[in-house]
């Protein structure tokens, strides 16, 4: 009998021990597997999702609400002319390989990112940097060619993280940064594992280990969460399943903002969309709420221009392109298309595009515009639609933060060429006065909305499904990131 009790006791202890151990591990799922783990040379958002803040850090960093706070730079001074930024680095910061992080590494990282042969996906972020000088091991000075009001914001991007020259050769498969987690293992096609960095300069992470899993199929994603095979799913792909998770006490659902303006892009360089009246007609034919309800099951905020609604500088211009099929038909008639016309509608894989596309096709059909839908895979979409510009209409979400600047690029896929807006964007980049910048953001939003460049649908929301009891996850996605540094189990 004694033995039995002892056995039971031992058994119970063992059970409790595993339960307690489980609370410092977390299994995170996301849809896409990153192609590599180097955030400084590629556009894949999945890279940032894994490494941002967890493994790599920059001089400044984003918080979940989109604000920019000090990262590896403790403080900074900006000269009165806006041309010199002096960053004071945090002392005692070490890379995961034991080398110290100092001003030389900052210079190396920024010079590498803005170099002629750099493969950085966001080189524009660094375009205004003329020179990076090391003042002393903990002080680095940036000299700009022209004032850039967004410099601190730019340096918070995943593309601007600080890397070390010693470990740069293997960065794609063996990332070595300064973050609260160290990279431990990557089983390609299955999972990436990271572990707590015991030598972290800041507050150490509560999680001992974290595993990233990749599940792209919505049905499999649902099954994995329901079976509790994963603890967190960031960017859950099937919004229709969210009410079930909400109703289940085992889970919590967080619906946050992203920087993803979802638009019905029109090929401005090609007839009939080179005619503003036609674009306006398309804009008025669209019922945004029906798309949000139908494709996203109600999650998402209607937008009337290419700007995030949670940004303080956002102007609500949805009224400019309100749902008005009669007006749309009148505009089409005025443009010489009284009988409508036929165009192509290219749809990439996400459900906002595939489902939204069917709804938009029906709405356009109601005003006389026939669409030939073609469902495309991402590679095909990037090749023929985005690069090849072979499309009439397409639906895509632009997830980069503050990316209204794309409208100043006449070679961009939707082919909008407006010299006034281009001039405005050039002035904006060199303006540092926050009030003046804010005013110009607003102007630019109004210009593109009044030109009906694209039909602006909604701001993509990011649903995160997590087990109840997990705290500290990012609600919003100001940049693609699954920051686990502050995550704890209750």
């Amino acid at each position: 009998m004694k033995h039995l009790t002892a056995l039971i006791l031992a058994g119970t202890t063992a059970v409790f021990a595993t339960a307690a151990a489980a609370e410092t591990n977390i299994r995170v799922a996301m849809q896409l597997e990153p192609p590599n783990l180097d955030p400084t040379s590629g556009a894949a958002q999945a890279v940032d999702s894994v490494v941002y803040s967890n493994i790599f850090e920059g001089l400044t960093r984003f918080m979940s609400d989109g604000s920019v706070v000090p990262g590896l730079a403790e403080s900074w001074e900006i000269a009165a002319d806006g041309l010199t930024y002096t960053f004071k680095l945090r002392p005692g910061v070490m890379f995961h390989d034991g080398t110290t992080m100092d001003a030389e590494d900052v210079k190396f990282s920024l010079d590498r990112a803005r170099a002629e042969d750099s493969t950085n996906a966001q080189k524009a972020l660094f375009a205004s940097i003329a020179d990076v000088t090391v003042v002393d091991p903990l002080t680095v000075q940036l000299t700009l060619s022209a004032p850039n009001g967004a410099m601190l914001f730019n340096l918070a991007w995943g593309d601007a993280v600080i890397v070390a020259p010693e470990s740069i050769a293997d960065i794609a498969t063996k990332p070595i940064g300064t973050g609260a987690f160290t990279f431990t293992n990557w089983v390609q096609g299955d999972r990436i594992e990271i572990a707590r960095n015991p030598n972290y300069w800041g507050t150490p992470a509560a999680m001992e280990t974290a595993t990233f899993r990749f599940i792209s199929d919505p049905t499999a994603a649902f099954a994995a969460v329901m079976a509790e095979d994963v603890d967190v799913f960031v960017g859950f792909p099937a919004p229709e399943n969210l009410p079930q998770f909400e109703a289940d006490p085992r889970f919590q659902v967080l619906v946050g903002n992203t920087e993803g303006e979802t638009i019905l892009a029109m090929n401005n360089a090609r007839a009939p969309f080179d005619n503003k009246l036609v674009r306006q007609a398309v804009a008025h034919a669209i019922d945004r709420q029906a798309i949000i309800d139908g494709a996203m099951y109600g999650i998402g905020t209607p937008i009337g221009t290419h700007f995030a609604p949670h940004n303080p500088d956002y102007v609500d211009l949805t009224g400019l392109s309100n749902f008005d099929p009669e007006k749309s038909k009148a505009l089409l008639a005025e443009a010489g298309f009284a009988d409508g016309f036929t165009t192509t509608l290219k749809l990439p894989p996400p459900s906002y595009a595939r489902r939204g596309g069917e709804i938009i096709a029906a709405q356009l059909r109601a005003v006389g515009i026939q669409t030939e839908i073609e469902n495309q895979e991402w590679a095909q979409w990037l090749e023929t639609t985005f690069k090849g510009k072979d499309f009439g209409l397409t639906i895509v979400s632009h997830t980069e933060p503050m990316d209204i600047g794309i409208y100043a690029n006449p070679d961009y896929y939707f082919g909008y060429n407006n010299p006034d807006l281009q001039a405005m964007m050039t002035t904006l980049t060199s303006t540092t006065d926050p009030a003046a910048r804010s005013e110009m953001w607003k102007q630019a939003q109004t210009v593109i909305a009044e030109d009906f460049v694209n039909a602006y649908l909604f701001e993509l929301a990011v649903p995160t499904v997590a087990k109840a009891g997990i705290e500290g996850l990012w609600l919003n996605q100001p940049t693609a990131a699954i920051d686990l540094t502050g995550v704890t189990w209750l």
């Binding site: 649902f222 399943n241 079930q244 309800d293 709804i359 096709a361 073609e374 469902n375």
Partner: protein, 273 residues
Amino acid sequence: MTVPRGLIAGAGLAILFIAGALLSFLWTPYDILTLSIPDRLQPPSAAHWLGTDHLGRDMLSMVMMGARTSIAVALLAVGIGMGLGVPLGLWAAARRGSLLDEVIMRGNDLIFAFPSLVIAILITAVFGAGAMNAIIAIGIFNIPVFARLTRGAALSFWARDFILAARVSGKSPARISVEHILPNIANLMIVQGTIQFSLGILAEAALSYIGLGAQPPMASWGRMLADAQTLVSIAPHVALVPGFAIILLVLGLNLMGDGLRDMLDPRIRVARV
């Protein structure tokens, strides 16, 4: 001669779907091109006999329109297979043992050796997704089925006395093939055609399930299933309706094929007597 019961049941099911598909040209309960998001995912009711889908479309109308797509694609694909396969088989049989026979039959083996769905995916991936390419992809894989069957059946006739008589009377091999052999193997072709037709329905559903078949707004059972995937636990009918449509039509065609074989195949007929 009695008509097998399976044939009646099978033909009944097939006719039901074919009638629904034909009716959809004239009338459907609702217009599937008009979406009504507020009415989505309604369970079956008096207003919507089979409920509504995730975009608020009437499922009965969708099934009717989907039947049209499935039947049209499968029918045309079988048409391609028969139209090319039967003449090739007859030709190979007429020139049996020659180099031509070898070339035709080894070519067929080659097509047979490829996993058909993979090639169908390849074709649609290269030439773009769409009903037409699905027809071609499925059609190509029907060619060797008919060519082989035709050649095998035709060969057995070439050894028969009445063919010998025709040859003696000076008829060309082509004429003998068309006038004497084709009528004798027509039964077999009808039976095989029915079976291939049901396989074509399945192939079309598979292709459109993975997004390579008919594109929206054309309705298609495979795509209805794909759309329903994440909704099974919320509104089971959106998955069950197209699922059962596929099952019932394929079951009907298979029963019909079996029944027809029982009725038309001379060997089985003799055995029964």
